[in-house]
Structure formats: structure tokens, C-alpha cells
Symmetry: C2
Subunit: 106 residues, 2 copies
DNA sequence: TATTTGCGAAACCGAAAAGTTGCATATATA
DNA sequence: TATATATGCAACTTTTCGGTTTCGCAAATA
């Protein structure tokens, strides 16, 4: 069981679930209605998402509402940041090259 | 074969390879030296990364240099963006709440 | 109280993935 | 030219993953 956030996000259904519950909490049944799978399959995805703390539960009677733990998503953003730095640097360099060309044309 | 960028990035070894070749191109042998796996395993990872266009090759004699296709990483960033919006909004809301508390204290 | 509903957990299955081994090919080098 | 080196590719094995089915439990409802 690897259960890290990148592995959790690798599955397209789980990404869809994440997007679905990002703004409002939903029950497993309600979530499952949006997909071509059974409630149990969704339940399994939710367990994986819960295990890596991407999702939190709130029990209301016999219903359980799942919602996104948005802060956890920042971990992915944090990993991406190192690459963002690279492409921003390159963009600035390209920008300078273009500026130089423009200057020389005058 | 799913071969999408999220599945590619799910593997920790592949993430390490990506980080390794982000700044300078490297040969499979040189990359493999950084891990506890065989060259063939690394080669397989590189193939997967190449297939989803995260990595590009440059042949030099009998050596092949692999480097990161940084633009492709933007796809992950793009997906994260929708959530960044959410947490930034919440942060601003929290900020307002704090400002209001401060104001009322005066 | 009996039945329905919402849910998680375990057992099972088929497909896919990750790693290993062995081999083929092309480029260096002695 | 013979050998060593760098690499990719295919076959095979083991593990993991996603899904379904079945079950049990608790809460709602008739």
C-alpha cells in the first residue's frame, strides 16, 4: 500500500471525485450517481482518499458526507513549484532574447 | 496503457528522475546510478515518460541524453489551479474575518 | 417490530504495472 | 577486425490495482 497523494491522484475517477466534492460535501451514493461505477467502487476510492488525508468525513445520521481537505492539495502544488521556477526563468530569458532582437532591428 | 501524465508522476522513482533531469540532460546509465534499481528498470521508466511526452531524447553517438519537457509539467499545474483558486479565496475570507475582529477590538 | 436504506469491509477476479533476465543493435575503442 | 560499452526491446514473473459481489451493521421508516 503506497497511499501517497500522487498515487491517489493518478486515477481519473478519483480526480473527478476530488473536483466534485471540492466545493460541497457529498455522500457516497450521491457521488456514485455521477459515475458509471457502483457505490462500493466509489467507497473504495473514498477510503484511499481518506487514508492519504485528501478527504474528510462528517457523519450525519446514517449518511456520511465527504469533503475535500483542500490544504492537502497544496502538497502537489509545492512539488510543482520547483518546475514552475524553471519555466518562469526560461520565459524571462526568452523575453530578454525577444527584447534584444527588437532593439537590434531599430 | 493509460499513459497519462498523472499516472506517470504517480511513481516515486519517476518523480525522482524528473527532478534529476530537470536542469541538465542525462544518460540512462548516469540516471540509474542514482537509484537502487537496474538500468533496464530506469530505461522502462524513461520510456513511459517519453510516451507521455514528459521527456525528450537527444542522441549523441551511442549515448542518449534525456531531459525534461518542462512545458508538459504545466498540465499538472493547470489542474491544480482550480484548487488554488479555492484555497486563495478561503484565505482571503479568513483574512477578512481577522480584519473584522481586529477592527471590533478597537 | 419488521423493512428499507446508507454505508463499510472482506473475498475474489481480471487487467495492468513494475521489475528482472536475456538478447539484439549500434557505436566506440584496442 | 575483435571487443567493450550504451542502449532499447521483448518475454516472463510478481505485485498491485480497480471493480464486482456478498455480507454485516446501524439508522431511518413503515
Amino acid at each position: 500500500m503506497r497511499r501517497d497523494i500522487f498515487q491517489a491522484v493518478a486515477d481519473p475517477t478519483r480526480r473527478a471525485i476530488i473536483a466534485l466534492i471540492a466545493l460541497q460535501a457529498m455522500t457516497p451514493n450521491a457521488i456514485a450517481e455521477n459515475f458509471n461505477t457502483t457505490r462500493q467502487a466509489v467507497s473504495k476510492h473514498l477510503r484511499i482518499l481518506t487514508e492519504c488525508e485528501l478527504v474528510k468525513q462528517e457523519q450525519k445520521g446514517r449518511e456520511i458526507y465527504y469533503s475535500l481537505e483542500i490544504d492537502k492539495m497544496k502538497e502537489i502544488d509545492k512539488w510543482i513549484e520547483q518546475f514552475r521556477k524553471i519555466w518562469e526563468t526560461r520565459f524571462n530569458q526568452l523575453d530578454q532574447v525577444l527584447a534584444t532582437i527588437k532593439k537590434n532591428k531599430k
